[in-house]
Amino acid sequence: MEKRPHALLLKYPGTNCDAETARALEATGFATTILPVSRLDRDHLEGVSLVVFSGGFSYGDYIMSGRVARLITEQRIASALEEFRDRGGYLLGICNGFQILTQMGLLPAGSLVHNTSGRFICRWAGLDKRSDAAPLSFLPDHFELPVAHAEGRFVTADPADAERYLAEGLAPLTYTDDINGSFAGIAGLQDKTGRVFGLMPHPERFLHRADHYDPDWDGDAQWGWGYHFFRSLHAAVSASSPVPCPA
């Protein structure tokens, strides 16, 4: 019998980071299934501990990034993801996945809009860990990951809301520099349960040391920060009780 925690990675038309995200999940101990959303129903959440939304351009970012993915997911499984979270399940959104989780209302209220530059950015970003979060526990206070997005500027209806998220520990990850105009420099958010986490940077793109741009990088001999991100998440998921099946 499979003893590894089971991660379900949802793939939408336009999702393009599913393979490397699945590779990162497998490398850190998850049994991983990639599921096209066209086949998704509530039964697929049975036995799953973690639902992952990976990066890409779901539905061509039509209307706004993550919007159509939200609508389609709601049409297929309605509120099953909220129920999954309430039963103890974990949800992770990376880049476009973060945009989808935000659109779904599974994270503190906010939106990810076009960068202030009006341009797509693809670079490495310095990051500050501001508070404890399941995927960050094995990471240092300062680290770096690649980013690649056009709509990565996190905004809230009132800028004070973003500051409040920082104060309340709901924004555990911020950019070291202002790269996209995000309020309070927010790069990652978690919900109040601590089991829903979204971030714009791509941890799956820095799984191995060799992924780093600097061959003399002064870090782990084998692994990149992304590996420790997924390893942290694996530790948190493994330590929690298995997610019971719906009645």
Binding site: Y59, G60, Y62, I63, M64, R67, V68, L71, I72, Q75, Q103, A109, G110, S111, V113, H114, T116, S117, G118, R119, R153, V155, T156, A157
Partner: protein, 149 residues
Amino acid sequence: MPNATYEIIDRFQEAGPADRLLYAPLAGNLTCRQTRLYHFGFEGDPDAVETFVRRTLLDGISQELHHGEEPALTGFRFLIDYGMKTQALDLEKETIKACHAGLGDAGFSLTQLTLRTRVYVFGEGAADPAVFVRDICNPAIHSWSVVAA
């Protein structure tokens, strides 16, 4: 046939350099903003159309809804209103129609849907709309019009 037009504006988008829309930068100090225009032909409840727009097309945190054909922004030098030709495949339109169909009974039937982008150009200095049309619009797939202030 009833119809309704909505223009969606990003609240947090400030006017940025217009040069970013062009292959070669212009002299002068022009800026631009973009909005999206949705024109619905429908049969049924007009309130249901707006409910659909607010649920499907509008982000309540980062966007504002403007009703009608009149330009939502003011103070521009000119605007370019462009979108896919009626005979061209517009995948975004098809996606919105699929979302409408997926709702089952949305309270109205969709008889026509047209999506347009509006590029507003602001500022001083030489500003030839033809340069913008040349670099933004593709005659093979787009139709467009230029509206002077």
